[in-house]
Structure formats: structure tokens, C-alpha cells
Symmetry: C2
Subunit: 289 residues, 2 copies
DNA sequence: TGAGGTCTCTGACTAAAGTCAGAGAATGGA
DNA sequence: TCCATTCTCTGACTTTAGTCAGAGACCTCA
């Protein structure tokens, strides 16, 4: 498998290399072209450009000077903080960027054109799979303190979604508790899933002496679904429950969360009679560990 | 579709970029690392290195000088032709190359590791599809004179394969004719399929006044099968037949060539009674255009 | 054997890419 | 209001990457 991935990397790298050639060739150095591209139609702050392209501040400055000299870019202090400056594309800069855009369209088209309709469909489908799974492989799951901003953010998003999707609305204060101290070792654990430093999911476990651990706050951001992140969170929480000595894991859920329910079932959870009186729950599940 | 290909290019490019970082980071410039890699365990002639990496001869020379100074490479005149020189890795060079190899293994592994077994399988499968189809899109089909070396090469390979696979062996002199002048416009046409300048398939058509054109010499190299090249060759030959005024296309084939037969059927050919007495044929097909 | 061609190397360049150490303006908080 | 900090810019570099025009060794074929 590793070999197959490697040959993939080689082929695709060579092939997509054509794209950088496309970025080149307008008698503009690659660095300038990348910067022009990254500034985008709405402009961008220099610090954002630096971190996104991972360039030295002096270097960015010099590149911008050169683009300014060509009349493609203007740089002006930002309104909020006059230390930082914002680069914007001029009319000519926008036109130049459109040329780059057309070029990368051309590259994409050159991939598709020689193929038959069914080959095209297969190619695009497989590309989507590769992309999604490569992204999924980038997701990292880490324990986070329940009071950490990332924890608040994801749990907040979870509540908001529950409120939006369940027919009765949702009030976090009314449900079963999951206070910070209950989700902090050794009483429990809160995990946050990150995609490139951005929190995109969470899940928690709350231990009970002599009883199954409770899984709580399982949530994955919309645009990160279908990557198996929920399943990974769940598996890690179960492992944590097992480490704490629990013989099983339990959870309750709202009937509106159909994908979650399907995922629990396929992960080996079986529906059981209500084991608590959480007012927003319709289904109770349990799994032996 | 173009958009999907573009986002694929962006994601994958970023992700595989890690690989070049892997090649870098050993405090060795990328050019040297690429060269070291390309020389390979068995050594390589400088001209081969130059064409494969597309580098200036002076530049390669200088890079080799630097690798030599580090004790990683030796360069000596080739035995056959003492103008050309062959670069070989020393013990240290081989070790260094193994480091690079391990690094690109690590990158590949980092793609796979966070995924579940079924995700891995899907990823590798999709990678294979992408790779094959991107390669397929690189194939170019061009008319070639029947006496051109590439034509001789592919037709020779076709005869060799026929001889190897058919139980009776095959003697090109005994069969129905397809002399150079019969496959040259306006009497006919010979197409050769190229993958990166290397001929990997052929196919010809021979016109007959007032009768269906004959498809001859259809062949695709083993390692290029499954890319739809045969189908493309056939389609172009049919188009050529139609241009010449033919109302149909005919062909005969040996029963050993099962994939070819399946391809003809799925391309709309129907089996008909023998329309000639080609001694090596078992099936005769025809299609209306 | 000699003419024309092939192959690699050296010298002399240029352009791009990137690094580093301040300088100077602006900001936020004590 | 002052001090530490943040942000961008400039000047002065270094390293890579790549190009071009010969020179010289070697090969092939007439």
C-alpha cells in the first residue's frame, strides 16, 4: 500500500507540476504569481499572506513592492490597526489573476479532455475520494480542557445544531449535566478534532464508578462529515472508558440526529431502555467494551 | 468538473508538497537530491539523467561535481562509448538515497496511518484510478507513416504478441496483406499511440472502394491496457473510414485475443461470416458507420 | 585518416528565492 | 505618558537554479 501511495505521489506530482508551469510563463516569477493569487479579489492583510505562504516578512515586502511597481497591487494601512497593512489588487492585478485562473482551468481541462465521458466521471469521482481521504488523514484528535476556547466553540456549535434540528428546540441548562469538572481527567475526558489547527469536532466521556461510562457532546462540523471523524472520536472515547475501568459505554441521543444514530448502530451500539431522564433524548444506546 | 479537478490539484499539491520537504531538509539542495534519486542503485548515464530530469548538461555536470565532492557519487566513462559517462552511487550515496526513500515512505505512511482499514482501501483504490486516468489523458494518437521506426516497432510488437498468444503461432507473410502503401493516405491510415513520446499502441485502416474499410494491426502495449486506448484508436480509425466514404468497418481477429474481441463487441461490432480467408483469424466482425 | 558529429565539462553569467538584522511607525496597557 | 510589543520595511547578504558559449575528448563513417 505504501508503494502504491508513493507511485501515486510521483505520477500526480509530475502531472500537476504542469500547474506551476501555468503559473509561470507569464514572465512573472513564481513567488509573485503565488502572492498575486493569494491576495485574492478581496485583498488580504500582509500577516495573513505571510503565514499562508510561509514567507519571510522582508521577502513579502519586496515582492509586493515589485507588484506595486507593475501597477498590479496597492498596499495601504488597515483601518482597524494602522501597523498592519492590507494588499489589494488593482484593476490590472485582477485581470492578471484572472489569467492565472484561466490557466489553471486549462490544466484541469487538459486532464479531462482526452477522456471519454465515463472515464471523466470515474476520474472526478476518484479525485473526490482521494481528496476527502487525504483531508481526513490530516485530522488530529487531542484532549482539550473543557474551558478551552476550542472546547467552548465546538460544544456551542453542537448545542446550536441540536437546537436547530430537533423539533422541540434545545436548552443546554435543562438537560443532563456535563460540567467542566466532569469532563476533565480523571472524572472524564473531552476530545477536540482539529483540521489544520481549526476545531471541527468534539466528543466527551464521563465516567461513573461501577457503571458504564457516558458518551456526550458528540459533534462533527458539517463540512467535515463523511470523513470518519465521528467514528474516530467515538473509538478514542471508548478506549478512554476502557482505560478508566468501565465495562461498557452508554449514550442518549435526539431522534433528529439520524446520521449519528446510524453511526452508533454500526459501531456496535444497541438500543436499550432509557437509563436516565434526559428530556431531549429519544434513543438510549449501550455497548459492551 | 473543471472546478473539482482544480480543487483536487490544490489539495493534493499542498499535501504532496510534504514529499519535496522530505527530499529537502537533509541540508541538500533539491536539485542534488533529485539527481541522487534518479541515478538509482544501478547507476545511470548522464544523457539519460539529463533527459529524465530535463536539465542543462552544464548544470548536471556541476551538480555531479558537488555530489562527487561529498563522496556520494562517482562518474566514469561508459564502457561501450567513452564519450558518454555513467554516474554511480558510492556506498555513502546509496545510504543517502535510502534516507530519501525512507522519507517518502514516511510521507506515504502518514497518508494512510490515521485512516481505518476500509478507508485505506478506498484511498488506494481511488489513487490507482486517478493515476491511471491521468496517465490515459497523457496518451496522444498521431498518424504515422508505415515505414516510420515507431510504426515498425509497434507492428512488430503486435506480431510478436500474436505469435506468442495464438496456439498456432503467427507468420505475418502468410496472412492478408497490409503493405505500407495500403496504410498510407489516401489508401488507408496508420495511427500510433504515444505516452510521453514512447509508442505504446497502434492501429490501421485500409479502405476498399465501395466496400467497408478494414481495421488492421490493432495493438496496445501490456502496461498501457485498461486506459481505453484501444477504444480511442478504434474510434479514430472509424472516423477516418467514414471520412473516406466507407459505410462500414470490418475486421478479423484471432480467438486468443479475448480482450480485443470483447472490446470490439462493446464498441458495436457484430460477428459476421468470414469475409476473407485470413488463415490466422477465427472471428470476423463488422459495424455500420 | 580525416571530417563531422556527439558528449561532457568549464567559465562566466543572470535571475529567483530566501535570510537576517535592525530601523521606524503604531499600538495597548500600566 | 511611557514602555514593551507588534508590524512592516530596507539594506546587505547567501544559496539555488538555470543558461549559454565554447573547448576538448571521443566516436562513426566515408
Amino acid at each position: 500500500m505504501v508503494d502504491q501511495v508513493r507511485t501515486f505521489n510521483r505520477t500526480v506530482m509530475q502531472r500537476i507540476g504542469a500547474l506551476s508551469d501555468g503559473f509561470l510563463g507569464r514572465r512573472r516569477p513564481m513567488g509573485e504569481a503565488r502572492l498575486l493569487w493569494e491576495i485574492g479579489p478581496d485583498g488580504a492583510e500582509l500577516r495573513a499572506l505571510r503565514t499562508r505562504l510561509d514567507l519571510d516578512s522582508g521577502y513579502v515586502s519586496r515582492l509586493l513592492r515589485s507588484l506595486e511597481a507593475d501597477g498590479l497591487v496597492t498596499v495601504a494601512p488597515s483601518d482597524a490597526d494602522r501597523r498592519t497593512r492590507t494588499a489589494r489588487l488593482t484593476r490590472a492585478g485582477l485581470a492578471e489573476r484572472r489569467v492565472l485562473e484561466r490557466r489553471s482551468d486549462d490544466v484541469a481541462r487538459s486532464f479531462l479532455e482526452p477522456l471519454s465521458a465515463s472515464q471523466r466521471e470515474r476520474l472526478v469521482g476518484a479525485m473526490d475520494t482521494v481528496q476527502r481521504l487525504l483531508t481526513a488523514a490530516l485530522v488530529e484528535i487531542r484532549p482539550v480542557d473543557p474551558t478551552h476556547p476550542d472546547a467552548r466553540l465546538t460544544i456551542g456549535a453542537y448545542f446550536a445544531e441540536l437546537n436547530r434540528r430537533s423539533d422541540s428546540g434545545f436548552d443546554p441548562a435543562a438537560g443532563m449535566s456535563a460540567e467542566p469538572h466532569e469532563l476533565r481527567p480523571p472524572a472524564g475526558l473531552l476530545l477536540v478534532a482539529y483540521l489544520r489547527a481549526e476545531p471541527i469536532g468534539c466528543g466527551a466521556v464521563k465516567h461513573h464508578d461501577g457503571a458504564p461510562s457516558e458518551i456526550k457532546r458528540m459533534w462533527v462540523a458539517d463540512r467535515a462529515r463523511g470523513l470518519g471523524i465521528g467514528r474516530r472520536l467515538l473509538a478514542e472515547l471508548e478506549a478512554e472508558a476502557a482505560r478508566s475501568g468501565a465495562r461498557g459505554a452508554r449514550l442518549e441521543t435526539n431522534r433528529a440526529l439520524t446520521e449519528a444514530i446510524a453511526m452508533y448502530r454500526s459501531a456496535g451500539y444497541v438500543e436499550v431502555p432509557a437509563f436516565n431522564d434526559e428530556p431531549f433524548a429519544h434513543h438510549w444506546f449501550e455497548k459492551r467494551l
